[in-house]
Symmetry: D2
Subunit: 140 residues, 4 copies
């Protein structure tokens, strides 16, 4: 089932090019590589050099990752990665993502990241400005 309407559900859409080395002996893209595609969507959004989400002296750590795998991904081709903010906490962000190949959904995922102080390694509150920018990236 191919349906391009998924794009409307994700304020940020980027892609990865599927590599030959992403495949495994089962002939399709290795399941663990799905986590790499999801990372591409997250880091382009959190570490965007033009407009990074983190404050000076802090960094993001992943607390949890849940992936539902629905279909295979194949070489050659691309994977589209849709990303949206689901919830914004004091220092945490819940991110929802979808992986699509040729408008066919291959996986959905939910990741929780927490901003921590780079030195103390304890959670560090998101600034008002970052919260506002994150709120703007919630889905419809």
């Amino acid at each position: 089932m191919s349906d391009p309407s998924w794009r409307a559900a994700y304020p940020r859409v980027t892609f990865d090019k599927v590599r030959y080395a992403d495949t495994d002996r089962q002939g399709h893209v290795n399941n663990a590589v799905f986590s790499t595609y999801l990372e591409t969507g997250r880091v382009e959004f959190l570490y965007d050099p033009e407009s990074p989400m983190y404050e000076d002296g802090t960094e993001f750590v992943i607390v949890s990752l849940k992936v539902h795998l629905e279909d295979e991904i194949h070489w050659p081709g691309r994977v589209e990665i849709g990303t949206r903010v689901a919830r914004v906490g004091t220092s945490s962000i819940t991110i929802e993502q979808g992986l699509f190949q040729d408008d066919r959904r291959a996986a959905t995922a939910e990741t929780v990241v927490v901003q921590i102080d780079g030195k103390t390694r304890k959670s560090a509150p998101l600034s008002r400005g970052t919260v506002a920018r994150l709120e703007a990236l919630k889905g419809p």
Copy 2:
């Protein structure tokens, strides 16, 4: 906190050697590589050439993967991967895993895999023999 007692909770323990290429620009092992370590624990258990868990004409597909990340993994070193069966359904297996470095827990994970018919791609019931072997791999 380093405590080797975790081994008692996992009937199967294997390892991966951390590779220099597993690290990323943050200096530690890349988060997506955790999924690869978890895969090592799963495939050695499901596809053990001596005693594979699948029936002829069937294969396993991953339905869901949940990972809780608790600590960093570093190069050089090894990752110990503990694996146990949590639940056995008609055609599904719920697997619980832990990743440890120097007896320090870095992550826990729950994966659901389903046995499917290689041709119809529909779920295929686990045989009695496989169910019995899986039951024997439940934790204490």
Copy 3:
């Protein structure tokens, strides 16, 4: 030094998107990943689904790979991969490649691949048609 004139030297140019996971603890793209980028250029050219270079019942194996590394590759960004045929033998092909980021050359490489019979695993002569298509991909 950035100079787009390199494109004229390569009949085929494709790209890979640099992934966060491609970096290592030194902060730049891991050296071993250069081999993956080179593979992207080779497989798109040899296994192009529209017009594959191999004959039925044969496959290509790599015999040798020589890489000269000249500069670092960084995330985020893309790598352009230029590929041309240098020599065509009875059953072997010598391929020359260049890796570029922002028109800055990061590496050059020479790979020799040999067509083998899928069953006997012995070298299998390239057909006249394939030789002609390969000759057309020699550089200027």
Copy 4:
């Protein structure tokens, strides 16, 4: 042909565990992963935390890599990586390596690395002490 006598030719022997994700759709270990196995042999030798080869303020960069691929590597299993010093220059080291699975040679490689000053990025002479330690790692 399996022959364990190769070990005598390499003063340093280490290993990598072959990962399921190292395989590709051709069923064997992806060719580009050979470069990762070679890196394992190099970094354990150059960046050994107990006795690193580099001086303070310097680092090693790879200048060239030549690999001859002779056989396939398969999952599951291990790859043994033999490493020896071939030549020691003013600031460069030529390293020869072999990859073996079950005492069957899968590849040989020659890598040239150069010590550079971390700030100026220009070549930095190896110290007398390092040269002596490198000379001791030449093959028989």
